[in-house]
Subunit: 493 residues, 2 copies
């Protein structure tokens, strides 16, 4: 090995450890930080970001890279160098002035968005959104260096994947999802909703129980409450959070399973990759595939909900979930609605796909921010069959665009597509999985996913990883087949 | 203001924020970190320390300091520059090789010490301690730059104070403490000890109650459990920890009050000083004065324990603390013993003072590590009137020397001396304080201390600060008078 190679990896290791600290500070802020500490925390985070930015754009990285390539000994070395080179190039392409301006505008924009949503007043937010879109276009153009601007933004969340490839997948999904949605809404059989009150203590005990069922490693994690559930960290310390709504225990249970999916991915990565460019989930789409397969294909399966209904009966007095079949229907009840985050498995991807198309148009300049509310409403009516009742339930509902997250939305649906592919392959490999799930044992699935997906970290590009894991190129067919089968049964279609 | 002045303060602000993050990581490790994350955390801490060391020895600090002095506008500016210059000089004097070697040896030494203590085998530890002493002598000599080596080490914990000054105070204290100790142990009246079991939940409720009584700001703090209680942070986020021993509720209550004292100091500092060199407690001695006056002169007073006995009766079924006078005696019961951390107000300083003398001799080379056990035992017999029964109760009991903390011990007793001075002045200013304490209201004391001591942060050197707060140069008289009065009454001497 050359000095350049060793120095580069040592430098990178320190940078990765510092980035990991930034994650700890976020966890702390959302779970345990005293409420009066916001200003101090933002100074701490800014200080760390200053150091991280200096390191990520340190010109020595370029010098080390020039000599290091000759000393890569295997595919892991080569991939590490390629990822370092990509991050360095991207970090160096965005002028400091622009990065600072984006940070400034988006931190203000989030507050303006929240207020506009509360007041149901899109005009209060749209001028600010225009500013954000302009800045993100500028950033995308700098990053793209002549390539596609949206793809350059997408690369932060779903690297090595083009919007064209994603659009091809989504366009193939839409007709079947719309048709399924219409069939369900016209069905005569409708599972009943759950009613009652479910105390926090019982919900949290249940949440710990389901996390354990999925094999969550408590020696390397913990569960806390947060307003918006998230997972955080990796390697030896990947924590999850959940929330409790006393009238809706499924919120707590499925938030927990979802976040345990994310955390398990990070905990499943080969520990030899820790603090290297390989030691993290390769993309948001693959990350979401892990959280979604845990939550939906496994956690909302007939087998697992059968076990869960027993645990809920243990946890809550007078639990009236009905028999296991009825309970399965209740868990999977389809609720048409305006809000993405409350959507069921059938509606969710339709939400995401319309945001993807709209944000591509915004970044490309085919759609102006001024015309966005009208475009939103028209598209919603077309895909969902109902008109948006008010902006807070429409164009104002998501925080993402206000904070500059363009290119993030498609990873949600891509994750579902990947989850569908993985579920099909896993079921073929593990014929007894349902019998295990019915006994509350989801860890054989975790083990399969660890072996096929998780342990590789960022070694393979996302679509190659899914293809290597499943033996087939990613396609929406398995997800659509799964949804049509599942909801066809449930709604007697 | 000059560019150099502004650049220096901005650079310092980022460094202070990064140092604050290091404190967060320590808090996290001791309270909420999953137990499998030790290796990762040590990489994170090492990465942050690397960055902090680079910043603290950045040669630009010297350049900025050269031009900044002309632009200081007031005493605060001047003090800030002096503190930055001191830290820069000290950081630059220790060769990187030596700093790394000390970090390496002490991190191993702590484990070797713990094992030797568990096995009661001093010979397993002494060779390692010799190494630590050699390295600390070398570090002290580098820092002293021709001055006194021990003073140079002391400066990390009690700046602007010499060992000679401390020795003069301690030497004046010893005879009166020894005499008091002998009188108490010969007394016929002996307060009874508390017996019973006190469940964790009640102890923690009580701990929250006493923290509130002292005016602890819960919007800028929180209380958690830790094996060794500590406080952490400042400005907008100063957290405390406590521990629960089910047979000894005083452990939890007085650990909490002690740590609330430390946290209140940091929270009481003028917020304009945040993230500047003025924005922290000026020395460990002054810090300990705050924790000790909260714990002892206030928390163990007849007035406050009267209120506390009522709260304990509320918190625990069948609480048998006796009447308020008997309870006061129980809280302040004198227990001769070998262990510093379990010592009462009378014995505590005797413990500290012997360590101070021994460590000065070790650093000066007047005492070899080989001869330390014998010196320890001889001194203990002289000051405490009993022979040490085994090394784990003697020379092996404290972690400090193994991790290289030479110069730290005297700050414990100095803090008690300062607490005595402050208590005398505060009682003169607040004649109704006992009436307030008897109603569980200790916050008038917090307010007095905030005004006289806490808000100044590091603006004044430690002894000047105490003199400005009390109107008299620090002296052990008030502490000794307080102890003789209090224990004279309790033991009917």
């Amino acid at each position: 090995m050359s000095d350049g190679f060793d120095q580069l990896l040592a430098f990178q290791r320190t940078t990765e450890a510092l980035a990991s600290i930034a994650g700890r500070l976020d966890w702390d802020r959302e779970t345990v930080m005293p409420k009066g500490a916001a200003e101090q925390r933002s100074e701490e985070v800014a200080a760390l970001e200053t150091v991280l930015h200096e390191r990520r754009t340190d010109p020595r990285i370029g010098e080390w890279l020039d000599v290091a390539a000759d000393y890569a000994e295997d595919a892991e070395d080569e991939r590490s160098l390629a990822l370092i080179a990509r991050d360095y190039t991207r970090a160096s392409r965005v002028p400091a002035r622009l990065a600072t301006e984006i940070a400034r505008v988006t931190s203000l924009a989030q507050g303006i968005w929240a207020e506009a949503r509360a007041k149901d007043a899109p005009d209060d937010f749209l001028p600010t959104l225009s500013e954000v879109v302009m800045l993100k276009r500028e950033q995308g153009a700098a990053l793209a260096d002549g390539g596609d601007v949206y793809d350059a933004l997408l690369d932060d969340y779903e690297p090595e994947t083009s919007a064209t490839e994603i659009a091809a997948i989504f366009d193939a999904m839409r007709p079947r999802l719309v048709a399924l949605r219409e069939a369900i809404l016209g069905a005569e059989t409708v599972p009943r909703a759950l009613s009652g009150t479910f105390p926090q203590e019982g919900q949290l005990r249940l949440a710990r129980g389901v996390a354990t069922a999925f094999g969550y490693d408590w020696t390397r994690g913990r569960l806390d409450l947060a307003v918006h559930p998230f997972s955080s960290g990796g390697w030896q310390d990947a924590r999850v959070t959940t929330r409790v709504v006393e009238t809706d225990p499924f919120n707590c249970v499925y938030s927990t399973i979802h976040e345990v999916g994310h955390a398990s991915y990070e905990l499943g990565i080969d520990p030899d990759y820790a603090l290297t460019p390989l030691g993290r989930g390769v993309s948001m789409g693959v990350h979401e595939s892990q959280s979604r397969i845990y939550e939906n294909q496994l956690g909302r399966s007939r087998a697992f909900t059968g076990w869960l209904s027993g645990r809920m009966a243990d946890a809550f007095d007078d639990f009236a979930g009905g028999d296991a079949d009825a309970f399965y229907g209740t868990v999977n009840r389809v609720n048409p609605g305006y809000i993405r985050t409350e959507a069921d498995e059938v509606h969710y991807n339709l939400h995401v796909m319309m945001r993807f198309d709209l944000e591509r148009d915004l970044i490309a300049g085919r759609l102006s921010v001024e015309d966005l509310p009208e475009a939103w409403n028209a598209r919603f009516l077309r895909d969902f069959g109902v008109a948006v009742d008010r902006p807070a339930n429409g164009v104002l509902q998501d925080v993402h665009w206000s904070v500059g997250l363009f290119g993030y939305f498609p990873t949600y649906a891509l994750g579902n597509v990947y989850a569908g592919c993985l579920d099909r392959a896993m079921r073929a490999d593990l014929p007894d999985l349902d019998a295990e799930l019915a006994r509350g044992k989801a860890h054989p699935a975790t083990e399969w996913l660890r072996e096929r997906v998780q342990r590789h970290g960022a070694l393979l590009p996302p679509r190659e990883l899914i293809e290597a894991a499943t033996g087939a190129a990613p396609s929406p067919e398995p997800l659509l087949d799964y949804l049509e089968d599942k909801f066809g049964d449930l709604y007697a279609l």
